[in-house]
């Protein structure tokens, strides 16, 4: 039994090919993982399957419907969660649920849903005020309403912490019945490894289709195999690090957080957060969504004003001399925040100039960074039209362009494909070796292993600090993910 049958599907956007003569079957009652590099055509494929986009040629049959002519009937049977889920940020949690329940014509019985998502205590909070993980849970909850026969999830776990990621997975597995088909696009290969089927696409074509366990028995191996399928990753000398030219700082402690606190009424978003980072260190800030990482981050770079305490970058107080402190800083925000209507090159030109790269050197510098981040073929493309992973690359490129001695990266690898993630970390570690100080947050626990030291953050406070090895020992775990979950649970008990 097939839920989806696709034959010779083609979809072009202007002159660029998004889906190239693709044929694919998706089996009923199975969870299928959709994997692919950034810009491989995953989102376009999902949108075409449910009729949000029309194919140029080829045939699609979904649940016996033709998405081209029977979109309305088809949509009654599916649940689709777009990458940027359309929550109404000015409505509350419960109002969003009610809206989608009414749109799908199902009853307002949310108890089970709220319990599953642990959103029950927050049901009257505006969706815009939720943390990233909570938003994803709410988006998934809205998608799951009405028990659709066919679920399509476009990277639902982007920017979600390991605990919430497990929750999301659990939600899907427990809320569906054995008849439900799931098509799950993801960048987490451990996730994909646990699915029934994996489909790897590249440049709009299917390059692998089969059981993940047939390809490899462990998630780690699976990741390597997928990387091989996608052309393989050759670790090369990081060109960015090689050409990185900056004055070695004369201070040893390049980043200091001094008793940072952020209070909203009686609620502490961040409480006496103190840490010091040495030159050339990669310092990881880990923690569940809503733990206060982003708030800390924002206070560190002067985007939010601490209630008390301060931060120093290269010895300069961020509150008293913000402009001077920031000139030493490269910042990559969690949410894509470059100019959508500007092209890739124009964005980079802009940040190069703002960060004081002289006009003569600018072109050389921008050329170089476009080359290194593989943005050459997109340089004339408006940033808005880039796929998520390429947007992240562009943000990283913009943060690095002025060779700052300190880098703040807030979830740099969210939504980035596995190849590019490895590439990112190659650059990050090489930069650290050259003496660049890096403060980073991530939800990929394998990435945490790259950090020199990690601060584990929970409910606004530091729960544990140490090297990855120390933390694993402390938690009595073999891998970071288990260590993370154990340590959080431990502090919960306290």
């Amino acid at each position: 039994m097939q839920t989806v049958t696709i034959k010779n599907l083609t979809k072009n956007f202007g002159s660029s090919v998004a889906i190239d003569n693709l044929s694919l079957n998706i089996e009923k009652g199975k969870i299928t993982g959709l994997i692919g590099a950034d810009g491989a055509g995953k989102t376009t494929l999902l949108r075409t399957i449910i009729g949000l986009l029309l194919a140029d040629s080829g045939e699609i049959d979904v649940l016996g419907f033709n998405p081209k002519t029977q979109k309305d009937e088809l949509n009654l049977h599916i649940g689709y969660m777009p990458q940027k889920f359309g929550l109404y940020e000015d409505l509350t949690v419960i109002e969003n649920l009610r809206l989608y329940a009414d749109l799908k014509g199902v009853t307002h019985d949310f108890d089970k849903m709220l319990e599953f998502t642990t959103l029950a205590p927050f049901q009257d909070r505006l969706a815009g005020a939720l943390s990233g993980g909570m938003k994803q849970k709410l988006g998934l909850a809205c998608t799951l309403l009405g028990n659709p026969e066919f679920l399509l999830l476009d990277e639902p776990s982007v920017g979600v912490d390991p605990i919430s990621r497990r929750d999301l997975m659990k939600m899907v597995r427990e809320m569906i019945n054995p008849e439900t088909t799931v098509l799950w696009s993801t960048a987490y290969l451990d996730e994909a490894h646990s699915f029934d089927t994996a489909v790897v696409i590249d440049k709009g074509k299917v390059i692998y289709e089969g059981k993940p366990h047939d390809l490899a028995s462990t998630p780690q191996e699976f990741e390597n195999k997928v990387i091989d399928l996608m052309g393989g990753y050759n670790k090369e000398e990081s060109l960015i690090a090689k050409n990185y030219d900056y004055k070695a700082p004369d201070v040893e402690l390049t980043v200091e957080a001094d008793n940072l606190e952020k209070r909203y009424g009686n609620f502490y978003a961040v409480k006496n957060n103190t840490f010091k980072i040495r030159k050339g260190e990669i310092f990881g800030l880990l923690g569940p969504n809503g733990a206060g990482k982003s708030t800390s981050f924002k206070m560190m770079c002067g985007l939010a004003k601490p209630t008390s305490g301060t931060a120093r970058i290269m010895g300069t107080d961020i509150i008293r001399h913000p402009a001077k402190a920031r000139s030493n800083l490269g910042y990559m925000a969690q949410k894509f925040s470059l100019y959508g209507s500007l092209t890739v090159r124009q964005n980079l030109n802009f940040f190069a100039l703002v960060y004081g790269i002289s006009i003569l050197k600018r072109k050389e510098k921008v050329d170089e960074i476009i080359e290194v981040f593989g943005l050459k073929e997109y340089e004339k493309c408006p940033a808005d039209e880039l796929p998520l992973g390429l947007k992240q690359r562009l943000s990283m490129a913009a943060a690095l362009i002025h060779n700052p001695p300190v880098l703040f990266l807030d979830e740099p690898t969210s939504g980035v494909d596995v190849l590019t993630r490895r590439d990112f970390w190659n650059h990050i570690t090489s930069l650290a070796k050259k003496g660049v100080t890096i403060l980073v947050t991530t939800h990929f626990m394998d990435e945490a292993e790259y950090c020199d030291r990690i601060s584990l953050f929970y409910k606004g406070q530091t729960v544990a600090v140490g090297t990855p090895k120390e933390l694993k020992q402390k938690a009595g775990a073999n891998d970071m993910e288990t260590a993370f979950i154990n340590l959080i649970k431990e502090s919960e008990v306290k």
């Binding site: 770079c301 002067g302 985007l303 939010a304 004003k305 402009a323 001077k324 920031r326 000139s327 800083l329 910042y331 925000a333 949410k335 894509f336 925040s337 470059l338 100019y339 959508g340 209507s341 500007l342 092209t343 124009q346 030109n349 802009f350 940040f351 190069a352 100039l353 703002v354 960060y355 004081g356 002289s358 006009i359 408006p382």
Partner: protein, 370 residues
């Protein structure tokens, strides 16, 4: 130091221009919409009332009444005539808005004219139609007075009133209204351009990136105010050029003074727009606040009725209204050739408004951080 400053501001300015200029739709709308409106409104805004439709109830049916009516028929301002023979039909024509003016000639008209006792012709106008009906009634009165004078022969006594309209010898309404339309269109465009500029970046999340960069509040302020100022200036100059060339309105003032005062006027409006933008969280709030500012600002600018005629408290309020000074300056320099001291007197309040709003805006960038 100063080079870094210039470089950063230049980068920001360039970015703002690219966002507008990259997109043909945006470019077309910002330039095309005001020009299209100028073209239409310049043709339609007229107080020289024409094509007046008239209903006539002639109870006299005499040589004199025919003569009077024929004078109306020959007047270029009057178009269609409807002849009725009773009051009811007369009123009906008004009710359904078929006519704007009515002439009611009584049956003793001819007799009274002949006896020189003073005949009365009733001129009725439709009070529902702005002042055009009143103007039409004025024309009718002139025609009647002209006929009356012809009947008694030119009086050689009385007053010989000569009216001289300075700066606009034929008192062409177009000269006046076109300078106002140009200011209005610049005002609307500038206000929309600026009030959305920061609010949009906030809604899309890009404003954080600017704050984290080494750009100081002052630099952001410059980067945010110069591009709309340039666009608004260019637009104003294009529109001014059009009304000089195509509508042959003489520009009598000093070009330099005009440029300086337009720049400062637009700067004050840019300041208001940016301040609105800085305090708004969403684009909707920004645009609606801009409207809430604009409506009273235009109404109180003196364009609809003179400032001196307002209650005192409102007169003081107009000192906060950049549109007031903007209109005085544009019209004053353009048509009257206003001198430097008068220009300065009007520029000072604008400078005060600009500096207050711009300062408030740049302070709000940061205060909004939370």
């Amino acid at each position: 130091m100063i080079r870094d400053f210039l470089r950063r501001v230049a980068a920001l300015i360039k970015k703002e221009f690219i966002t507008i200029w990259n997109d043909p739709k945006t470019k077309g709308i910002i330039i095309g919409m005001p020009l299209m409106q100028l073209l239409i409104f310049s043709n339609t805004s007229t107080m020289e009332v024409q094509n007046i439709d008239t209903v006539i109830l002639d109870r006299s049916k005499s040589v004199e009444s025919r003569e009077l009516i024929s004078r109306f028929e020959y007047s270029p301002r009057f178009r269609n005539f409807y002849y009725v023979d009773n009051e009811e039909d007369f009123k009906k024509q008004f009710d359904v808005q078929k006519v704007q003016i009515g002439l009611n000639i009584p049956n003793d008209f001819s007799r009274k004219v002949k006896s020189g006792k003073g005949a009365i012709v009733q001129v009725v106008s439709d009070g529902r139609q702005t002042n055009s009906a009143a103007i039409g009634a004025g024309y009718a009165g002139q025609i009647i007075a002209g006929y009356s004078n012809d009947l008694i022969g030119n009086p050689d006594t009385g007053l010989n009133i000569t009216v001289r309209h300075w700066f606009n010898p034929n008192l062409k309404y177009k000269w006046y209204i076109l300078t106002i339309i140009v200011s209005m269109l610049s005002l609307v465009t500038t206000l929309i351009l600026t009030s959305l500029s920061i609010a949009r970046e906030r809604e899309l999340g890009t404003f954080d990136q600017l704050i984290v960069s080494p750009l100081s509040s002052f630099e952001i302020l410059l980067g945010k105010s110069i591009p709309p100022l340039c666009i608004a200036m260019a637009l104003t100059m294009i529109m001014t050029g059009i009304i000089i060339i195509f509508f042959k309105i003489p520009f009598v003032g000093s070009v330099l003074l005009f440029l300086v005062s337009m720049t400062i006027s637009l700067l004050a409006i840019v300041g208001v727009g940016l301040y609105i933008s800085a305090i708004s969280n969403t684009q909707q709030q920004a645009i609606l606040s801009a409207m809430t500012f604009m409506m009273p600002a235009v109404l109180l600018s003196g364009f609809i009725s003179p400032v001196e005629d307002m209650p005192l408290c409102l007169q003081y309020l107009t000192y906060l209204d950049p549109v007031r000074f903007f209109m005085v300056l544009s019209r004053g320099i353009f048509l009257k050739g206003m001198g430097i001291s008068d220009v300065i007197a009007n520029i000072i309040p604008l400078l005060v408004i600009a500096s207050i709003t711009l300062t408030l805006a740049s302070r709000t960038f940061k205060r909004k951080l939370g």
